[in-house]
């Protein structure tokens, strides 16, 4: 079992990966995020109708993508540089076990492109390509 907090510098309320199930550094990561009514952002998004903001689904993919790196990201200068082809197909709701799958598509000169899918019970909720810059 991967030690998530040893690898990612993100902390509450912005650590958005709960488990890493499969990991091939440089190639592919499969991780999970469990959604509950206790998520701080669901208090206001929205009153009486909690659903996970789409930008946070992208952030989940970015954080899961952090596990493509072999080494811990503590102290590393890695930033989100772009988002392409983002699609939000269905809402993520309290009770959902989100599956975060990220694949590396290519890299050049410190810029990495990954493709990610957030799904729940076999249904795609969000797909996007993310560009990540390592300084």
């Amino acid at each position: 079992m991967t030690d998530i907090q040893a690898h990612l510098p993100h902390r509450y309320p912005f650590l958005l990966v709960d488990r890493v199930l499969e990991r091939e550094p440089g190639l592919r990561v499969l991780a999970e995020k469990l959604i509950t009514f206790g998520e701080p952002y669901l208090q206001g998004h929205f009153e009486g109708r909690p659903l996970v903001p789409g930008v946070l689904l992208l952030e989940m993919l970015a954080q899961a993508g952090g596990f493509l790196e072999s080494d811990s990201l503590h102290g590393a200068a890695i930033f989100l540089a772009g988002v392409q082809d983002a699609r939000f197909k269905a809402p993520a709701l309290p009770g959902d076990r989100l599956r975060l799958e990220v694949r590396a598509e290519g890299a050049f000169a410190g810029m990495l492109k990954v493709r990610g899918v957030v799904s729940c019970e076999g249904r795609e909720l969000c797909t996007a390509a993310l560009l990540v810059k390592r300084l």
Partner: protein
């Protein structure tokens, strides 16, 4: 315009979504980055991926990129040189 050069320009337009631009608007000798087409580092990665996908040619590192991305002419020459026969 050579057939390969035209395909290179079409790949650049499609891959970088340069909507409204046509191949004859891209000058053969103009720099791709900076003053010419004004591309950035995300575009560079997109081009690397596009060149590999369309022409089967890999740009392995920044040194190769510096050479290949000098201009459309330089890129066409680079692809012609490295493409498998």
């Amino acid at each position: 315009m050579s057939d390969l050069k035209l395909r290179v320009k079409e790949m650049i337009i499609e891959r970088l979504k340069l909507e409204g631009m046509t191949p004859d608007q891209i000058e053969d000798g103009a720099p791709l980055f900076g003053d010419g087409l004004g591309l950035d580092s995300i575009d560079a990665l997109e081009l690397v991926l596009g060149i590999e996908q369309v022409f089967g040619v890999k740009i392995e590192d920044e040194a190769a990129g510096l050479k290949a991305f000098k201009s459309v002419q330089a890129l066409t020459d680079f692809i012609a040189e490295h493409a498998k026969a």
